[in-house]
């Protein structure tokens, strides 16, 4: 039976894992390679590394980080942040990533999705979407607005419509972040996640708002998510993927255990 994935997310800045709220008050949370291997050992089904302050100058640092992180990692490994061209993606793959996550650049040039998919396969392309409910829209959830640049810039695109386009262009998965929920630890936006998951035929990874085990139970059930991202709940030894999955299993969610 296919299991629901728990994906550990490492936000990286200048080669270090950082944790902060809305990109401020960043706290050093360790070395990405060490953290990634620890999460994998503790039961994470997949690792996502996001370069949250991707800059042109920082590319080499990121590639070095990806290389070091991939070295000891034997679970799927996705890298995002600052991937603007198929050449950027190729460098990240060569460094050892299995998937790349594209966001702002894909909205600016949607053919980026086609290009990476053609060269590396759909399974290698994750389209990350940051969306905020739009109370003025006819359907505030399905028509939630898509933002870029770390949530700073509205695009006018609607979440369901953009997710469908991404799928048609050859995305293998959607990584959906609810900007309303992100950082609140009050739960995922299950309605938003379900709206996108029902609109596309590819897996949807839910992100933003995880605070308790029940939030994960909810997003896998009501939210129809195929996978969920966990970031802050794993930091500083608060919890591990394994203990989270053991509790999910008790709640009737199919997960990879033992792991």
């Amino acid at each position: 039976m296919i299991t629901k994935r728990i994906i550990a997310c490492l936000d990286v800045h200048a080669g270090r894992v950082v944790k902060g709220v809305q990109f401020v008050d960043l706290v050093d949370a360790g070395d990405p390679a060490t953290q990634a291997v620890r999460h994998a050992r503790e039961g994470a089904d997949e690792i996502v590394l996001l370069d949250i302050t991707a800059t042109h100058e920082g590319r080499q640092t990121l590639l070095d980080t990806v290389r070091r992180t991939a070295e000891g990692l034997f679970v799927p490994f996705c890298v995002g942040g600052g991937i603007r061209t198929a050449q950027d993606a190729e460098q990240v793959f060569d460094a050892g990533a299995d998937k790349v996550s594209v966001n702002s650049a894909a909205l600016k040039h949607p053919t980026l999705i086609d290009d990476i998919g053609r060269s590396f396969g759909a399974q290698a392309v994750v389209v990350a979407i940051d969306a905020r409910r739009d109370p003025k829209a006819a359907d505030p959830v399905r028509d939630a607005e898509v933002f870029v640049q770390g949530g700073r810039k509205p695009t006018g695109r609607r979440v369901v419509e953009w997710a469908r386009e991404a799928e048609q262009r050859g995305a293998g998965e959607i990584l959906l972040t609810s900007m309303d929920s992100d950082g609140t630890r009050a739960g995922f936006d299950c309605e938003l996640t379900a709206a996108v998951s029902e609109a596309v035929g590819i897996p949807v990874i839910a992100s933003g708002g995880a605070g308790t085990v029940d939030h994960f139970v909810d997003v896998f059930g009501r939210g129809k998510a195929d996978a969920a991202l966990a970031a802050s709940i794993f930091h500083f030894g608060i919890s591990s993927a394994r203990s989270l999955k053991e509790e999910l299993a008790r709640a009737g969610v199919s997960v990879r255990l033992p792991c």
Binding site: I2, T3, R256
Partner: protein
Amino acid sequence: MRVTVIDYKAGNLTSVLKTLRHLSAETIVTDGDLALVAQAERMVLPGVGHFAATSRLDQTGLTGAIRAAIAKGTPFLGICVGMQWLYAGSSEAPEQPGLGHFAETCTHFAESTEKVPHVGWNSLKVREDSKLLAGVHPGEFVYFTHSFKAPVTADTAAETFYIEPFTAAVECDNVMGTQFHPEKSGETGLKILTNFLKWSPEAGK
């Protein structure tokens, strides 16, 4: 031990190479040097992406070289599209023949309400006499990402259920393949790759 990894310019090889090296294998990569295939101790054909990309194996003459190496007993492991290539072909690219070592054809998952591609960790039902999957216990999981699959036949070494039962691993003497990615399947995957690296006609009989 030495492994010849065949590069047909579809997707990236980094993960597979890194994992084989982690298991202390020496890796040799070729995208067309037929002598390297003829002399190979073991061969791995990775593969992600589209079945049509395997046409490069025909253009470079690698298909014939691999066929000859298999015939003389060289252990061979195909991964994902590399496994599908062992079959007669795939409905993903009907004009492109596979090696035809296994007579069946790979097909797309049947229409259903489930998501396709099948992405994630799924379990295996392992055939008891499988050498490739020796030591893999019920309830162990491996990582899949694919939309096309091979049918379950007598050569199936492990089957998995998603929408329908399909071949997760195939094995007939020295010819082996996995639909899942052992290089991405944690400790279970490392165990399977180790079995391949240790495979010999006599071992385990």
